[in-house]
């Protein structure tokens, strides 16, 4: 089943790399039959139930949403170059940061890796022909699109200015913007998340190939399993919370209204009960990608596999217990504050365990600094910093000063952009040959990765300083003394934008002009590398049977026990 050691083809872009696979005599098309060539009409795409095609449908949609969210970010950073709010009105600025947050959180980050890479790879990685419920998978894409259409419609016809956290009573009684319509879009989109999570859980439980035991699963699958648990259990709570806000605003069913005795802080509890685990929905899949990449580009299985696998579950479970750390200054009791603080420290530990294990994987590996590996290294640095700054925020005594400032903004962007998006881009590049059957230009890939890393740090590191100095978040105007740091941040954003545009260009280019990829251009291990690039529609012509050798690099007889 596995390739013998020594028979590993050299990755492309290297001297000695193998030439592209030869044309098979007699094939009418230039490429062999695969899931991409299985149909070319619009209907074959819009009515597909093939998980691989659905993954591409998602890829297009979330890229569009990312672009829109990115445009809002650009406008924000342009406005913040000067202390006065002179580019747009305050009402507009407030809509910009709100809509940036809503789009990036709900329509980009939460679906990104699961809906694109998870959909594409999970069945293949476990040796199945598709997910458990392919039609439900297509439905979840349509639900996503409908949710996005509602939300974009709300944004076009006036926008929403509550902040993505839409705290009451502002969102229920004071905002004059399209709160209910946007809430409806988010509510609908939540079902897309739930259906995807449901599909993954059932698939991973019920459709593993013979020999694929739980502890042989790729860590990518483990992290998606943990993510799916959160999607299933957390998303309904935000759904019902959005519903209650909409009912209060639209039908005056005043559950949070202080005039009736209602409690605005109850809203915060319900909101953060989902929205904290949501951040683990955003980072766990990325951690799964990193596990795969660090193994492939060191040619070693991940150090401490079981610990990394169980850490994913620990993060998912502990993540449900810490929501109050968003509310230390809300009027919550001291005792609650202390409990949430302690638990928040605990949830940092499994993440730390993962970082150490990934670093240890590099030890005595055979490391190749291709584009995906550059993203891994970037992730290791940026996620470490982001995670450590989480400790600052978990420290209640310190959080009182930095909460609601740019320190928090910098923290979550380090994790979500420096962590999650680096993982996403690394994964896209790594599996691009499998998905598209083409090789992207490696030189450009590396340049873009470095530009993203530099641009990112320049954008967000100054924000830590800004936050500690006291600049609150969501500020349109700010005192002059904060200008230098804001200008640095905006300059970084322009570099980051270039770093994001480059892959869009060269990946698209490669779909037509890139060199054709072999089944395993990286010399990696895993079931996905045992099938063609791009794969046939049914993934496997014969059901694979999994043994330990499926994932081995070096000879097991020579394994070192540390």
């Amino acid at each position: 089943m596995s390739t013998e050691p020594g028979g590993v083809p050299a990755p492309y872009g290297r001297p000695g790399a193998p030439p592209p696979p030869p044309e098979r005599p007699g094939t009418a098309l230039r490429e062999r039959a695969n899931y991409l060539s299985a149909g070319y009409g619009v209907k074959s795409w819009l009515l597909t139930t093939d998980h691989k095609r659905i993954a591409l449908l998602y890829l297009v949609s979330i890229t569009v949403m990312f672009a829109i969210g990115g445009i809002f970010a650009t406008l924000i950073r342009l406005e913040l170059i000067t202390p006065q709010g002179d580019m747009v009105q305050s009402e507009t600025y407030n809509k910009l940061f709100t809509m940036h947050g809503i789009i990036m959180v709900f329509f980009f980050l939460i679906p990104s890796i699961p809906a694109v890479l998870g959909n594409f790879l999970i069945p293949i990685m476990i040796g199945a022909k598709d997910l458990a419920f392919p039609r439900l998978n297509l439905l979840s894409w349509y639900v996503y699109v409908v949710g996005a259409v509602f939300t974009l419609y709300a944004m076009i016809t006036g926008g929403v200015d509550t902040g993505w956290t839409f705290y009451v009573p502002y969102s229920t009684h004071y905002s004059n913007t399209k709160v209910v319509l946007t809430g409806l879009g988010i509510f609908i989109n939540g079902f897309s998340s739930i259906l995807t999570g449901l599909n993954f859980i059932v698939t991973i439980h019920k459709m593993r190939a013979p020999g694929m035991t739980w502890f042989r699963l790729p860590l990518f699958v483990w992290s998606h399993y943990a993510t799916s648990l959160i999607m299933i259990l957390g998303t309904p709570v935000i759904a019902v919370t959005v519903l209650m806000v909409a009912l209060e605003r639209g039908l005056h069913l005043g559950i949070f209204d202080p005039a009736l005795g209602g409690d605005p802080i109850l809203f915060q509890h319900l909101f953060w009960f989902y929205s904290h685990p949501a951040v683990y929905i955003m980072i766990l899949p990325s951690m799964g990608v990193i596990s795969e990449l660090v193994a492939a580009f060191s040619r070693k299985t991940v150090f401490g596999y079981s610990f990394v696998a169980v850490s994913s579950l620990a993060i998912a479970m502990l993540g449900f217990l810490v929501w109050g750390h968003h509310m230390f200054v809300s009027g919550q009791s001291v005792y609650a504050g202390l409990v949430f603080s302690g638990l928040s420290y605990l949830v940092a530990i499994p993440s730390a365990i993962k970082v150490f294990n990934w670093t240890a994987t590099l030890y005595k590996g055979s490391i190749s600094l291709d584009t995906p590996m550059l993203y891994v290294i970037g992730f290791l640095g940026l996620f470490t910093i982001g995670g450590l700054t989480g400790l600052f925020l978990a420290a209640t005594g310190l959080d009182v000063h930095v909460t609601d400032t740019y320190f928090v903004v910098a923290h979550f962007h380090y994790i979500m952009v420096g962590g999650a998006i680096m993982g996403y881009l690394g994964g896209i590049h790594y599996w691009w040959p499998k998905i598209s059957g083409r090789l992207y230009p490696e030189g450009w890939g590396r340049i873009a990765a470095i530009i993203v890393f530099v641009g990112f740090n320049l954008t967000f590191f100054p924000q830590f300083v800004l936050g500690y100095l006291g600049m609150p978040r969501r500020y349109h105007y700010y005192p002059e003394e904060f200008q230098v740091l804001n200008v640095l941040s905006s300059a970084g954003a322009s570099i980051l934008a270039v770093g994001y545009l480059l892959p869009l260009v060269y990946l698209t280019w490669s779909m037509r002009y890139g060199r054709r990829a072999s089944a395993n251009p990286w010399g990696a291990r895993g079931l996905e590398w045992e099938i063609e690039s791009p794969p046939p529609t049914e993934n496997f012509l014969v059901q694979p049977i999994v043994t330990d050798k499926t994932f081995q690099y070096g000879a097991e007889e020579e394994a070192v026990i540390v």
């Binding site: 089943m1 069945p123 199945a128 022909k129 598709d130 997910l131 458990a132 419920f133 392919p134 439900l136 739930i194 449901l198 599909n199 859980i201 059932v202 698939t203 439980h205 019920k206 459709m207 013979p210 299933i232 259990l233 957390g234 998303t235 309904p236 709570v237 759904a239 019902v240 919370t241 519903l243 209650m244 009912l247 209060e248 039908l251 005056h252 069913l253 005043g254 559950i255 005039a259 009736l260 005795g261 209602g262 409690d263 109850l266 319900l270 009960f273 089944a519 045992e530 099938i531 049914e538 496997f540 012509l541 014969v542 059901q543 694979p544 049977i545 999994v546 043994t547």
Partner: protein
């Protein structure tokens, strides 16, 4: 490319309902049933958010909740509870009939379930109408005039104010529940039609079974809502 040559298709003929990505009907059935349980877990959290709000406010404003609850018609609520439990019975009988391949009986039981579900919804309309007439719908026209305290007295002003939260939760919870029933009814109707066409039998009745699971869940939610909304005792 893949391992040692073991094929897993059982033979040349498949059950017509076997989807291509499953190896066997048993596996397909297991996956579907498991999927519905996962969905129900999600639904528990969905109602759970609203029930958390209910629990907190009932604790804070007990008298207001008791007064609001006292106004609800316990007789109608009991009838509705009985109706829904009977509909779960007919649903279970329908699943059983489908498993035995009895297409007429299946369709009949499923239709009965729809009838009972509709009775439930009809009674809910009657109840909502009553609230509307008594100005107990939260909003600009809300008034606690028709509510009474433990000894039949009119409510003090702040209890009256808080009673609006009770009714906000009453409408939200029962409305959400009713929505789940309104979604369930066409699904059951579709199952009844498919059963009539002879699609289900011992080898394949999964859709009816998981529809049954959904319907039983909706029933159980009502079993919680009924005492929580209708049966709050006044303090002595």
């Amino acid at each position: 490319m893949s391992s040692g040559g073991e094929t897993v298709h059982a033979g040349a003929t498949h059950h017509p309902e076997l989807r291509h990505h499953f190896e066997s009907m048993a596996g397909q059935h297991e996956a579907s049933a498991f999927g519905m349980w996962v969905f129900i877990a999600q639904e528990i959290l969905f109602f759970g958010g609203m029930l958390t709000a209910y629990a907190i406010y009932r604790n804070l404003f007990y008298d207001a909740f008791a007064a609001g609850s006292h106004h609800l018609d316990v007789k109608l609520g009991t009838v509705n509870t009985a109706v829904l439990i009977c509909s779960s019975l007919t649903m279970a009988l329908g699943v059983h009939a489908a498993a035995l391949g009895k297409r007429k009986a299946t369709a009949l039981f499923l239709l009965l379930t729809i009838v009972l579900g509709s009775v439930f919804l009809g009674i809910k309309v009657v109840e909502y109408k009553d609230k509307f007439e008594h100005h107990l719908v939260p909003g600009a026209h809300y008034s606690a005039e028709s509510l009474r305290g433990a000894h039949g007295e009119e409510l003090p002003a702040d209890t009256a104010r808080h009673s609006e939260i009770f009714f906000a939760l009453y409408f939200s919870l029962t409305g959400l529940h009713a929505l789940h029933m309104i979604i369930g009814v066409p699904i059951i109707a579709y199952m009844a039609w498919q059963a009539w066409r002879g699609r289900f039998g011992p080898a394949y009745y999964t859709p009816v079974e998981i529809t049954g699971l959904y319907w039983h869940f909706v029933d159980i939610v009502w079993i919680f809502l009924f005492p929580l909304l209708y049966l709050i005792p006044h303090h002595a």
